[in-house]
């Protein structure tokens, strides 16, 4: 079964500084990879996704992520954070659908809480 590790529970970054949130996954093949953001009282919003091809993917709100197969990682980056980026960030992996139908849902990490300092 697949698993996702987000090693940082909290990260504090100054407004305008760069950001990198770490994500490591465990899966027997190349997974589908996602980053979601969750603001208080809100549902999860999809930031970006990786299915195949170019390992550097661009998302919304100026975020990008890089898939590194050798490190089983899919770290999220942003060159300059804004106060509105303060939220909970979740990395998720989707397993390939089983033959004959059916699909596992997304497997999420425990999340990283991003705090923005003025």
């Amino acid at each position: 079964a697949q698993s996702v590790t987000q090693p940082d529970i909290h990260i504090t970054v100054s407004e305008g500084a760069s950001l990198e949130l770490r994500c490591n996954y465990s899966y027997g093949a190349t997974p589908y990879l996602f980053w979601y953001v969750q603001s208080p009282g809100q549902g999860l919003q999809l930031l970006l996704k990786y299915f195949s091809g170019d390992t550097l993917v661009q998302g919304i709100k100026g975020f990008e992520a890089e898939f590194k197969r050798s490190q089983s990682s899919f770290n999220l980056r942003k060159p300059s954070v804004h106060w509105s980026d303060a939220a909970e960030y979740f990395c998720a992996v989707g397993a390939r659908a089983r033959r004959g139908g059916g699909a596992d849902g997304l497997t999420f990490g425990k999340g990283t809480h991003l705090i923005i300092q003025p």
Partner: protein
């Protein structure tokens, strides 16, 4: 366009009561998922529908949990005889479905269930 909607947004139930949580997916989305998110945790998969067929219910924690999607659109998650450990946010997600698009999921705001 309209996103995924869920109702109620908040539900308080006394232990032992039955509850029903509703999800309206994005129109035309074939796949529908339910997740449970405990406080301070990431969402955990409960069950998956493709149209009206429940193809995976491996994440349902007990036989007190039951989900249906009879016409392939709106879905209801029912919890019978609620227990305190059922307190969580229940998230619904939908996707266009089929192949990898199944995994590009769009989430509703969730229903926060508190069992007292």
């Amino acid at each position: 366009g309209a996103g995924v909607s869920q109702s109620p947004r908040y539900k308080v139930a006394k232990r032992g009561q039955d509850v029903a949580l509703r999800c309206d997916p994005i129109s035309g989305h074939v796949s529908l998922f339910w997740y449970q998110q405990a406080l301070g945790q990431g969402p955990e998969f409960l069950t998956y529908f493709q149209n009206e067929a429940q193809l995976d219910k491996s994440g349902l924690p007990s036989d007190r949990f039951f989900a249906e999607r009879p016409e392939g659109s709106v879905s209801t998650l029912k919890i019978q005889r609620t227990q305190q450990e059922d307190s969580a946010v229940y998230l619904c997600a939908s996707s266009l479905g089929a192949g990898r698009l199944t995994y590009e999921q769009y989430f509703g705001p969730g229903t926060r269930l508190t069992v007292t």
